[in-house]
C-alpha cells in the first residue's frame, strides 16, 4: 500500500498557514546551553520524583527523575555537569514545578547506559515498551501523554491500527514537517517499533497535502515497510486524533472515550523518531525539534533544542528579536499557551515558540454575539460554542454540561472565526472546570 487520498474532516477552518517562515529551514543543532532547567513534570499524569540532589554530577542522558505512578514518565539530564538546584520553577503552563537545574560542563559526557543496542530487531513487545518507558518518551505532538501507557491498552480493547500523525495542522509550526523530510526512514522505523510494541499489523502515516515533499520523502521507506501513506486535505484541526481516525477509518471515538475505544492508537511523527533513537541508539528523550518563529524573530528556525533550554535562550539562538514582542506562545497560535515570562524551559511538549508582534497581540475587544452560527459551523465536534459562552455569562453551568462542553477539544476554530471576538475558548474552559467540579 502506498498512497491514499482521504476526505477532510467535517467543519474546521482554514487559517493562514504562515509556515513559509521556517518550512525550508533544515533542522539546526545549536550548541548546548550553559545551564538547563528540567522540570520533573513535563507530561500528562503524576509528577516525577528527583533522583539527584544539589551538588551531584550528572552525565548526558542520566536519569534524574523517576516516574511516580503508572501514568508518569522519567526525565533525563540533557547536558553533563553539576546539579546546582532542585527547586520549584515556573513552567510554560504557569505552574511551579520541581525542577533540576544543571550547570553544563560543556563536555556532554554520556551516561554509561547511553549506548547503541546490539540486536534491536530481536526485541520483544515487552522489551520495546520498557525501553520506551525508561527513555521518558511521551507524545511530542503537544499533549505529552506517556507513550508506554498508550502501548499497554486493557485486554478488552483490541487494537488493529496504528496511525502516525504528521498532519501538523497548527499554523506556523514546521518541526514535524522537517522531521519527516530529514528523518523519514526513522519515522517509519519508529512506527514499526510502536506497532510491534502494541501488537498491531496495520499502520498509516497521515500527512496534510500542503507537505508534498514530505510525502515524497516518506514513500520509499513506507512502501518497503507496508505502511500506507494517507494524504489529507489541509484543514484545521485535521491533526486532532479523533478527526484523523474519522478521516482515515470512518470511526468516531465515542464521547468521553479514547482512540483505543475504536481500536486505534495515534502517535506524532516526532514520537516515532524518539522511539527509534531510544531503541537503536539507547538515547533517552533529552532534546526535541522546536520551531522558533513569528514576525519579530530575526532568523526563524527549526532548532533541535536540549530540554530545559530557556525560551529566552531559544529565541536568542534564532537570531533574537527584530521588534518588540507582544505575545510569546508555547505551541501554535490556535491552541498554544501565552507566556508572561521568557524564563521558562523548553519541555517535551514544546513543539514551537511563537513570537507575535505588538500589533498582532493586543487582546481583541469582544462585542455582543450576533448568533451568526459561524462557531457552530466550524466546530469539528458539532457543538454549539455560542451557547457555552452565553450560559457561562449567565452562570448556567449545568446547561453547558448538557450541551456537551466536556467533548470540546479546544481547537479554537470557533473563536478564530467569531466576528464578535467572543472569548469562546476561555468560556469553554470555565464551563469545563465547573462541569468537572460537579461530576
Amino acid at each position: 500500500m502506498a498512497l491514499a487520498l482521504r476526505k477532510a474532516l467535517a467543519g474546521g477552518i482554514h487559517p493562514p498557514e504562515r509556515k513559509h517562515l521556517t518550512a525550508a529551514q533544515a533542522i539546526i543543532r545549536p550548541p548546548a546551553p550553559e545551564s538547563v532547567v528540567i522540570p520533573l513534570w513535563q507530561h500528562t499524569g503524576a509528577p516525577g520524583e528527583p533522583l539527584v540532589a544539589r551538588g551531584d554530577h550528572v552525565k548526558l542522558g542520566q536519569k534524574i527523575g523517576q516516574a511516580a505512578a503508572f501514568v508518569s514518565a522519567p526525565v533525563h539530564a540533557s547536558v553533563s555537569g553539576t546539579v546546582v538546584a532542585v527547586e520549584p520553577r515556573l513552567d510554560a503552563l504557569g505552574r511551579m514545578v520541581t525542577a533540576v537545574v544543571i550547570e553544563s560542563d560543556g563536555l556532554d559526557t554520556p551516561a554509561p547506559e547511553v549506548v547503541p543496542r546490539s540486536q534491536p530487531d530481536s526485541l520483544s513487545a515487552d522489551e520495546i515498551r520498557n525501553i520506551v518507558h525508561q527513555a521518558g518518551i511521551v507524545g511530542l505532538g503537544g499533549a505529552a501523554f506517556p507513550t508506554r501507557v498508550k502501548l499497554a491498552p486493557p485486554a478488552d480493547k483490541p487494537i488493529d491500527t496504528y496511525i502516525l500523525n504528521g498532519c501538523e495542522c497548527e499554523p506556523y509550526l514546521t518541526g514535524d514537517h522537517r522531521v519527516m523530510l530529514e528523518r523519514g526512514a526513522d519515522c517509519i522505523l519508529g512506527l514499526g517499533l510502536l506497532m510491534k510494541a502494541a501488537g498491531v499489523t496495520r499502520g498509516y502515516l497521515a500527512v496534510e497535502n500542503n507537505k508534498p515533499d514530505a510525502v515524497e520523502a516518506l514513500l520509499p521507506a513506507a512502501r518497503e515497510a507496508g505502511i500506507a501513506v494517507a494524504v489529507l486535505p489541509t484543514r484545521y484541526p485535521q491533526g486532532s486524533e479523533k478527526h484523523l481516525i474519522k478521516s482515515l477509518l470512518g470511526r468516531e471515538v465515542p464521547s468521553g472515550g479514547l482512540p483505543m475505544d475504536v481500536g486505534v492508537l495515534v502517535s506524532n511523527v516526532g514520537t516515532a523518531v524518539a522511539v527509534a533513537d531510544a531503541v537503536y541508539h539507547g538515547l533517552p528523550l533529552l532534546q526535541r525539534v522546536v520551531t522558533v518563529t513569528g514576525r519579530p524573530v530575526r532568523q526563524p528556525a527549526n532548532l533541535l533544542l536540549r530540554l530545559g533550554t530557556s525560551f529566552a535562550a531559544a529565541i536568542a539562538l534564532a537570531g533574537g528579536l527584530g521588534e518588540p514582542a507582544g505575545r510569546v506562545v508555547m505551541g501554535g497560535p490556535m491552541t498554544g499557551t501565552a507566556q508572561f515570562s521568557l524564563d521558562v524551559p523548553v519541555v517535551k511538549g514544546t513543539s514551537g515558540i511563537l513570537v507575535l508582534g505588538r500589533d498582532e497581540s493586543l487582546a481583541p475587544v469582544s462585542t455582543p454575539c450576533i448568533r451568526c452560527g459561524r462557531c457552530a459551523e466550524s466546530c469539528p465536534m458539532r457543538l454549539l460554542p455560542l451557547y457555552f459562552d452565553a450560559y457561562v455569562q449567565a452562570g448556567n453551568y449545568s446547561r453547558t454540561g448538557e450541551l456537551g462542553v466536556l467533548d470540546c477539544i479546544e481547537c479554537g476554530s470557533c473563536a478564530w472565526g467569531c466576528p464578535a471576538r467572543r472569548p469562546l475558548v476561555h468560556s469553554i474552559r470555565v464551563a469545563k472546570g465547573e462541569a468537572r467540579k460537579r461530576s
Binding site: I13, P15, P16, P171, K242, K246, E252, V253, P254, S255, G257, P324, A325, G326, R327, V329, P333, M334, T335, G336, T337, A338, Q339, F340, S341, L354, L356, R358, E360, S361, L362, A363, P364, T367, P368, C369, I370, R371, C372, G373, A376, P380, R382, L383, L384, L403, G404, D407, E410, G412, A415, W416, G417, C418, P419, A420, R421, P423, V425, R429
Partner: protein, 327 residues
C-alpha cells in the same frame, strides 16, 4: 518592574490571553456592511421604479435609525456602537418595507420604533428576539394602515398615489386573475409594492452576493421559498395542483423577506436543521395567510411568528455531537 501608570505596550510586558492567538479578519461591522452592499441593487431599483422621492424616505429612515441607536445607547449608558452598521441595516430595511408614498414621519417613526423598542430595550444588538425592521412594519401596519397600503405606479413618477390592487390582492380574487401582471413585470419589479420588494432581479443579485460572501446560509431562504412555491401550487384556486407558484414567489415581499429578513442571525435558529424547520415554518405560514387569510400578504407576520419560535427550534435541533448521542 511593571509600571501601572504606563500603557502595557510601553512596559515591555507580554500579553497573556486564552487561545487562539490568531483571528479571522471578519468582524460584525463587515457583515453588516455586506448586508448594506447586498441591499444596494434593490435600493437603486426602488429609486428607478418609484422616482427620486423615495430617496428622501430612505435617507430619513436610515438617519432616524442611526440617531435613535446612538441616543438610546448613550441614555442607557451602553457603549455607542453605531459604527457596527447594524442600525443602518435596520433603517434601510424599514425603508425598503415602506410604500413609495410613505410620508417621511412614518419612516422616522418606524425606524425609531425598530431600534429603540425592538432592539435596544431588549438589550441591544444580539438580544432582539424579533427582527426589528419587520416588527416596525407590523407596528406601522397596525397604527397607520391607510398610509401603509397606498401604492404608486412604477415608472410613472408623476402619479403620487393609487389604491390599485397589488398582484397578491389579485391572486386572492380569482375573478381579477386576467389583470395579473406578466412574470417579466413581476421579475423586474414593474408592479405596485413597497420600495424594495418589487424588483426580484435586484434582490436576487444581492442575495447571490450574500451567499457568495457566506454571510447567509442557503437553508432558510431555499426552504422558505420552496415551501411557499409547493403549497401555492398544490392548493390552487381551482383544485389541487392548479396554483400559480411562479407568481406567488415573484410577487409581494417573499424574496426580500426570505433572503434578507428571515436570515437575520439574531432572530433565527443557528443549528443547520433548525434553519430548515424555520424556513419551512415561515413558508407554511406565508402560504396559509396568502391563500386563506384576511391579509393579501403574510411574509412579515410569518417571519415574526417564527422569530418567537426560533429559540425553541434551536433547543430541539441540537446536532448530534461527534461520537455522541443527541443532547
Amino acid at each position: 518592574m511593571p509600571d501601572k501608570d504606563k500603557p502595557v505596550e510601553e512596559q515591555g510586558l507580554l500579553v497573556v490571553a486564552a487561545p487562539p492567538h490568531l483571528f479571522h479578519r471578519v468582524k460584525t461591522s463587515r457583515i453588516m456592511l455586506d448586508v448594506l452592499i447586498a441591499l444596494l441593487p434593490a435600493t437603486l431599483a426602488g429609486l428607478n421604479l418609484f422616482g427620486p422621492r423615495v430617496l428622501a424616505v430612505i435617507v430619513a429612515s436610515l438617519l432616524a435609525a442611526v440617531a435613535a441607536e446612538a441616543a438610546t445607547q448613550k441614555l442607557l449608558g451602553r457603549p455607542v456602537r453605531v459604527l457596527d452598521f447594524s442600525a443602518a441595516v435596520t433603517g434601510l430595511l424599514v425603508a425598503l418595507n415602506l410604500p413609495p408614498t410613505a410620508p417621511l414621519w412614518l419612516a422616522v417613526v418606524g425606524s425609531a420604533f425598530a431600534v429603540v423598542v425592538v432592539k435596544q430595550l431588549f438589550g441591544g444588538l444580539g438580544n432582539n428576539f424579533l427582527n426589528p425592521a419587520l416588527a416596525a412594519r407590523a407596528f406601522l401596519m397596525a397604527a397607520w394602515p391607510a398610509q401603509m397600503t397606498t401604492w404608486s405606479a412604477p415608472g410613472d413618477w408623476a402619479v403620487q398615489a393609487m389604491t390599485g390592487a397589488t398582484p397578491l390582492a389579485i391572486l386572492q380574487r380569482p375573478e381579477l386573475l386576467r389583470r395579473l401582471p406578466s412574470y417579466a413585470e413581476l421579475f423586474w419589479g414593474w408592479i405596485p409594492g413597497t420600495i424594495g420588494e418589487t424588483c426580484v432581479a435586484a434582490l436576487l443579485l444581492g442575495a447571490l452576493y450574500l451567499l457568495w460572501r457566506r454571510v447567509i446560509d442557503w437553508r432558510i431562504p431555499v426552504t422558505y421559498v420552496g415551501t411557499v412555491a409547493l403549497l401555492t401550487w398544490v392548493l390552487g384556486p381551482r383544485g389541487l395542483f392548479t396554483g400559480d407558484p411562479v407568481a406567488h414567489v415573484l410577487a409581494g415581499g417573499l424574496v426580500l423577506g426570505a433572503f434578507f429578513m428571515a436570515t437575520d442571525y439574531v432572530s433565527s435558529p443557528v443549528t443547520p436543521l433548525g434553519r430548515v424547520w424555520f424556513g419551512v415554518g415561515c413558508g407554511l405560514l406565508t402560504a396559509m395567510i396568502r391563500l386563506y387569510g384576511g391579509y393579501p400578504e403574510g411574509v412579515s407576520f410569518s417571519i415574526l411568528i417564527m422569530n418567537i419560535v426560533a429559540p425553541l427550534i434551536d433547543r430541539y435541533t441540537v446536532p448530534t455531537r461527534f461520537g455522541g448521542r443527541r443532547a
